[in-house]
Structure formats: structure tokens, C-alpha cells
């Protein structure tokens, strides 16, 4: 038996060298001889690059081709979903090991308080464990676009379970969330425009501690990016009242996964949904919307006139700069709407509108061609006079030539 094993060993070594793997793998473990698929997958992973070996996770003896000997020395398969996260944590919660990679070591702790972690702890092993999102042997780093945890791939990774109706049914969780997200301004920015700074699922729900935010926390989560809007919201009457009434703050109007900007007609019905269509508040909503809308229209109109001015070879740099200022005021108005008070909104939209009106007015003055047209009329008067004189000359010439 021994010579055969020995020759097998030699042959496999030779093959590895021939396959161009070089001396690095020669020194490595022999597990791949019997588990080639796992080995191939593993070799692509971040762990393989950093010198993690099979036995670092699985234990056992990697330096023998004797099947039995290899699977002794505390070998473990890691197939138990309930305990596997703890095994990842052996290294990933180790400050000394993670420090060089600047990786956080609280991931396991955070996971344990997440909905996923709590379910697994209860014995519900259908809930996600580390390998469900990161992969098993072929774990890539988060920044690798091929990784299932790369920001643009997160929605499809979550979708693997969260769009599966049979899987979500026992928990009473909706399955439209990922589709809803993909249709929103956030989803389009991330998936269609490729803006990796746009929020994905984990931006709001947390990464390892994935949990739906509760009432009172929604405004903090949205406010992480929409800071001005959050400030305005808290300052206004909605801030406290909605939390007290148990309404999820931002999501009550904007929805959660299917976030959309309001279309003009929605404002009336949305305010009316809580306050009543005929209410004072609904009127206020309409009024604010009109203010923002008319300022936006004015700016757009002025922009078109600036284009006309450009075609008429006027200098437009100053007009463009001023319109940019008006647009900034308009941008300021949008967060201010969340104060649900008219004064601040009125103030900034009035500024935006008056700048646009001023620009429009001045360009109209410059584009006015009345003087040129009057000049043209005068010019034609002279042209006709000249023609009359020339024709008279010609007649006299003809009359003079005829008798001869």
C-alpha cells in the first residue's frame, strides 16, 4: 500500500508543479487531492491569498494523504449551520488577527443580536448564517465587484432569500421589497447608474446586525444622508407627533422600500390621508407645493431664455451663474418643506423666483430687436429712394438713345 500512496503523492506533486502552481502550493496541504472542487474554489478566495489553509478552519491533518489520518486531530466539517458563525468568529473576532486588515471584530457580536442571528440561536437554522451571504470556500473581499457582498450585488444577495415566498411566509415578511427597491431612486442610482455610494439594503438595515429600523429610528437612518431634511423634520410639528402616534416617520409619507419623490398631485392626497382632504393642513401642503413648483417652473423658463440668449451671441456667463444661485435656493426649499411651515419655504422660493424673473427680464431687454427692425425700415426707405433715382437715370438714358 505504502509505495502506491507514495507514488500517488509524488505524482500529484509533479502535477501541481507542472500545472504552474509553483513552490507555494507544494508546501501547502494535500486536502485538494481528494477534494479538488473545494480546493479550486478556495484557491480563488481572499482567504487563500492571505495564506489561510484548509486546516485553519477544518482542523485535521493536511499533510497526509491517508484519509483516516487526515480526518483525525479534531477535524470538523463546519456543516452545522447553528455553530458555523462561531467558527468564523474564532478568527474574525480576534483583534490581533484582524488588526492588519483593519477589519472590525464586533461582526459576530452584532450578528448575534440581528434578526438572522437571533433566529439561528433559537434553532431556526433557515435564517442566514455567514456563508449564506459570503459564500463557503470562495469568499471574496467586499470591494471585489465579483463578490456577493459588493455594494451593487447586495440587493441580489438579499433577494436570494427575501424574494422566496415559501421561505418568507412563516415570518410574515413581504417578498416585494427587493423589486420595490430596484424601482426607486436609490435602486436606480446603484444598479443602473452604477453609483456605489447610493444606499443598498445594508445601508438602512445594518450589515451583520440586519434588523428593520423601528419607529423613532427611521428619521435617524434616513437622516444619515438626508441631514438637512431630517433637521427640518424634527424642528417641525411632525417630528415628535409622529413618533408619539407610533407612525414610522419618513416612511409614513415616502414609503419604505418603494421610496419615490412626490408627484404634484400626490401632495394633496397624501396630506389628506391623515389630516382629511378638506383640512387646513392639506391646503398648507398644496400651498407649499405650489411655491416650490412655480419657482422651479420660473427657473426652467429662465434657463430656456438663457439658451436663446446664447444663440443670439449674448454673454450668458453672468446669467448662468445667477440661475445657478436660484437653483441652489430651490434645492434648499426641498428639505425646508419638511418643517411643514410656510414661512421658510416661502422665503427661499421667493428668492429663487425673483432671481429667475430678473434674469428673464434682463435677457428680454437684451434680445429686443425693435431698434434693428426700425433701422431696417429706414434702410429700405433709402434703398427704395436709390432705386427710384437709378431707374429715372436709366429712363433718361433710354430716351436719349432712342432718337439716334
Amino acid at each position: 500500500m505504502k509505495p502506491i500512496i507514495k507514488s500517488c503523492q509524488l505524482l500529484s506533486l509533479l502535477m501541481m508543479v507542472l500545472a504552474g502552481q509553483g513552490a507555494r502550493l507544494v508546501a501547502q496541504e494535500q486536502c485538494g487531492v481528494c477534494h479538488p472542487e473545494s480546493r479550486v474554489e478556495f484557491d480563488k478566495s481572499r482567504h487563500a491569498q492571505e495564506g489561510v489553509s484548509c486546516t485553519d478552519c477544518h482542523r485535521g491533518d493536511g499533510n497526509t494523504l491517508d484519509t483516516e489520518a487526515a480526518h483525525r486531530r479534531g477535524f470538523r466539517s463546519l456543516g452545522d449551520r447553528q455553530t458555523s458563525p462561531a467558527m468564523c468568529a474564532e478568527c474574525h473576532s480576534d483583534i490581533e488577527k484582524m488588526r492588519p486588515y483593519n477589519l472590525p471584530v464586533d461582526q459576530y457580536a452584532v450578528y448575534q443580536i440581528s434578526q438572522h442571528g437571533q433566529a439561528v440561536a433559537r434553532g431556526d437554522v433557515k435564517a442566514a448564517v455567514c456563508t449564506d451571504c459570503h459564500g463557503v470556500h470562495d469568499i471574496l473581499r467586499v470591494g471585489d465587484p465579483a463578490s456577493s457582498t459588493y455594494s451593487r450585488n447586495i440587493p441580489s444577495t438579499c433577494a436570494r432569500c427575501h424574494t422566496d415566498a415559501s421561505m418568507m411566509e412563516p415570518y410574515g415578511l413581504p417578498v416585494a421589497v427587493v423589486d420595490d427597491y430596484q424601482s426607486t431612486v436609490h435602486g436606480r442610482a446603484l444598479l443602473e447608474e452604477g453609483n456605489t455610494a447610493a444606499p443598498n439594503c445594508t445601508t438602512c438595515h445594518g450589515v451583520h446586525g440586519a434588523t428593520p429600523p423601528g419607529v423613532g429610528d427611521v428619521n435617524k437612518i434616513c437622516g444619515a444622508c438626508h441631514d438637512q431634511t431630517r433637521q427640518a423634520f424634527i424642528e417641525g410639528p411632525h417630528g415628535e407627533a409622529m413618533v408619539a402616534a407610533g407612525l414610522p416617520e419618513c416612511a409614513s409619507c415616502h414609503s419604505n422600500h418603494a421610496i419615490e419623490r412626490f408627484q404634484p398631485d400626490d401632495v394633496i392626497s397624501l396630506c389628506g390621508e391623515c389630516h382629511g382632504v378638506e383640512s387646513e393642513q392639506a391646503t398648507l401642503g398644496t400651498k407649499m407645493h405650489t411655491l416650490v413648483d412655480s419657482a422651479a417652473e420660473q427657473i426652467e423658463e429662465a434657463g430656456l431664455i438663457v439658451e436663446r440668449a446664447e444663440r443670439a451671441a449674448l454673454r450668458i456667463e453672468d446669467y448662468e451663474a445667477r440661475l445657478e444661485g436660484a437653483r441652489t435656493y430651490l434645492t434648499e426649499a426641498l428639505p425646508l418643506v419638511h418643517t411643514v411651515t410656510i414661512e421658510p419655504v416661502e422665503q427661499v422660493t421667493r428668492r429663487a423666483r425673483s432671481i429667475a424673473e430678473e434674469v428673464q427680464h434682463e435677457i428680454y431687454g437684451e434680445l429686443d430687436r425693435t431698434e434693428e427692425h426700425l433701422g431696417l425700415a429706414l434702410f429700405w426707405f433709402y434703398v427704395l429712394m436709390t432705386l427710384v433715382i437709378l431707374v429715372l437715370f436709366k429712363r433718361r438714358l433710354r430716351a436719349a438713345s432712342e432718337p439716334s
Binding site: E310, R311, A313, V383, K394, L397
Partner: protein, 373 residues
């Protein structure tokens, strides 16, 4: 009485051959008769005035005169624009901005130059059509046709090169479209592409400076030479056409001619000023060679070949379509040598029918090209 007292004219005529100088002017249509340059100017003019010739400044012969006036106007306005225009890709557009905004009457001169060019091409097209209908190409007037056709071609090229010069997005892309059409023509196309230093897809600084040289030096000289040659053949073969022959319509031609020319000049000037004021060509944005502006077709007079190339099914190689265009143009130049039919004969009717069919096809392809562009 005062015959002994020398006038300024006398002073000059003793030192210069004024008759010869004036006869040079006659080569450009002011007066097309021959002057005896051995005689003093006054004498030569008096003699010329007595010589009976057909009236030149009557419709439709006046088209050539208008063309001369317009070429003169283009040379004048073009010269003024050249004082401020900078022919490099980076400064071409800003320099046009300077002309339009800061230079006194710069906008006006630019508009006159643009509208003058459009009018010139229109007049030259009408002129060729009228030669055909009036059969002003029958022996010995073949060269009138050839020079007329070549002058039209020169004007096309002048306008094409001029369009690209300000590096505006419309001008840039319409030049690229035009270069694509030219590029489809075998031999001539590749030659043009080589000469302008681009492959038709881009206009580089080499293209621009070569366009500039063509536009301000080479092509104007070609155009002026063609006009000179045109009036030279007129002086040799007379103005008559198949209908009127060389019949004399009036005497005292010279003064009448000068007055008519003044009237034409005034009217053309009036028309151009009106167009420049009521329909100014807009100041387009600066061209970005990496951003195709959608919906920019070739110039209006090239819409027909453009439409033809677009209309050709895609399995026909482009050089075949180009070859057809090339042959069509060669046939167009060779009309006087192809149609030797006499007035009222069967052959004349055939020629007229074919000519009208070609004109209709041109119109149809122009409309089609306008739709596609």
C-alpha cells in the same frame, strides 16, 4: 475749350494704361465687350459704346451679374472677418464670439457673409438650370456650361470649408456629414480626406488650417478664375442663346449696363441686409468632437446626394453608391458634349425630358435626405 487743360484722368492715362485696367474689369461682367487697349480710355470707351451688343443685364442673363456681385461681397466681408478669425480648434469658436460681440458691425458682417454664400449657391444653381432650359451649351457655347458647373462646384466647396471654420456644433457635424458623402466617391473622396488631414470622422487642427487655406485662398482664386474664363468665352462667342441668337437689343450698352448693375447691387444688398436682420444665423455652441449632435444633416444643397446614399440598400457597397454619384457629376459636366440635338428636333425633347427627370429626382432626394437627417 478746356481741351488743353489736362484733367486728373489725363495725368494718369499718360502714366498708366487705363484702358487695359478697365478692360480687366470688363472681364468680370461690368461690360463684356472688347476694348481696344491701344487707345486712350476715353476713346476706347466711346468706341465701345458705339459698338452694338446684346443687353447683358436682362433677366435671365442677370444671374451671372448677381453671382459676380455676390462673389465680390463675399470677398469683402470674408476679408473683414479674416481680420479677427483665428484658425485653430481651440480659438476658432471664441474668435467668432469676439467677432459677434465685440467687433463693431462684426455680427452684421458675419451674417452678410453667411447669407451671401447661401444666395450665391442658389443663384449658381438657378444659373445652371437656366443654361439647360435655354440650351446655352450648344456649340460654340459648351464652355459656358462647363465653367458654370465648375463654378457651382467651387461654391459648394467654399461653403463646405466655411461651415467648419467657426467650430460650432452644427457646422462641425454638418461638415463631417459632408465629408462622409465626399468620402463615398472613389478616388476623389480618399484624396480629399488625405488633403484635409482627417478620416472624415474628426476635424483636427490640420483639417481646420487646410480648410482655412482652401476657403480664403485656393477656392476664391478658383472661383474668380472661373468667372474670368466665363466672361472670356462670352466675349468670344456672344451672349445669344438658341432663341435670340446674337441679336442687338440696344446701343449705349455701357452706361445702361453700369446703371443696371447699380440697381442689382442695391437690390441684392437690400435683400442680404434684410435676411441678416430678420433671420440671423444663430451663434451655435462650440463643437465637441466626442458628442455627436443628433439631427445634424449635411448642408441643404448636399441633401440630395446624402438622401441618395441613405436610400441605397445596405447590401450595396458604399463605393458603388459613390461611383454612381461620381458618374452622375461627370455626365452633368459633359452635358454639352452629350446633347448635340438641334432646336425643335426629337433629340432636344428627349434631352429636355431627361433633364427634367433628373431635376425632379434631385428634388425628391433632397426632401428624402431632409427627412432622414
Amino acid at each position: 475749350m478746356n481741351e488743353d487743360k489736362p484733367t486728373v484722368l489725363d495725368w494718369f492715362s499718360r502714366r498708366l494704361n487705363l484702358t487695359e485696367i478697365f478692360s480687366l474689369l470688363t472681364s468680370y461682367g461690368i461690360y463684356y465687350g472688347e476694348l481696344d487697349s491701344r487707345k486712350p480710355l476715353k476713346e476706347a470707351l466711346a468706341e465701345a459704346e458705339k459698338r452694338p451688343v446684346a443687353l447683358y443685364s436682362r433677366w435671365p442673363r442677370i444671374l451671372s451679374l448677381i453671382a459676380v456681385v455676390l462673389i465680390g461681397l463675399e470677398l469683402l466681408t470674408g476679408g473683414l472677418l479674416a481680420l479677427y478669425y483665428l484658425p485653430t480648434p481651440d480659438s476658432a469658436h471664441p474668435s467668432l464670439g469676439t467677432i459677434l460681440r465685440d467687433v463693431h458691425f462684426g455680427d452684421f458682417v458675419h451674417q452678410m457673409h453667411f447669407w451671401g454664400a447661401q444666395l450665391l449657391i442658389l443663384v449658381l444653381i438657378l444659373r445652371v438650370i437656366r443654361y439647360f432650359l435655354g440650351s446655352v451649351y450648344k456649340a460654340p457655347r459648351e464652355l459656358i456650361w462647363v465653367f458654370g458647373a465648375l463654378l457651382l462646384l467651387a461654391a459648394f466647396h467654399l461653403d463646405l470649408t466655411g461651415r467648419a471654420l467657426p467650430m460650432t456644433d452644427q457646422g462641425y457635424w454638418s461638415s463631417v456629414r459632408a465629408l462622409e458623402i465626399v468620402g463615398a466617391v472613389p478616388i476623389y473622396g480618399p484624396l480629399v480626406h488625405f488633403l484635409v488631414g482627417g478620416d472624415g470622422a474628426f476635424i483636427t487642427e490640420l483639417t481646420l488650417i487646410r480648410f482655412y487655406v482652401l476657403h480664403v485662398a485656393v477656392l476664391p482664386i478658383v472661383a474668380v478664375t472661373l468667372i474670368y474664363l466665363y466672361f472670356s468665352t462670352i466675349r468670344r462667342v456672344g451672349l445669344g442663346d438658341a432663341k435670340h441668337g446674337n441679336e442687338v437689343q440696344s446701343q449705349r450698352v455701357l452706361r445702361s449696363q453700369l446703371l443696371t448693375m447699380a440697381i442689382v447691387l442695391t437690390l441684392v444688398f437690400g435683400l442680404l441686409v434684410t435676411l441678416a436682420v430678420i433671420a440671423p444665423k444663430p451663434f451655435e455652441r462650440e463643437a465637441d468632437p466626442f458628442a455627436t449632435v443628433p439631427g445634424v444633416g449635411p448642408p441643404w444643397y448636399l441633401l440630395a446626394p446624402f438622401g441618395f446614399l441613405e436610400w441605397m440598400p445596405s447590401f450595396v457597397p458604399q463605393w458603388i453608391a459613390g461611383l454612381i454619384l461620381f458618374l452622375a457629376f461627370t455626365l452633368f459636366l459633359a452635358v454639352p458634349f452629350l446633347d448635340r440635338s438641334t432646336k425643335g428636333s426629337m433629340g432636344r425633347w428627349v434631352a429636355l425630358t431627361i433633364g427634367l427627370l433628373i431635376m425632379v429626382a434631385w428634388l425628391v432626394f433632397t426632401i428624402y435626405g431632409g427627412r432622414v437627417a
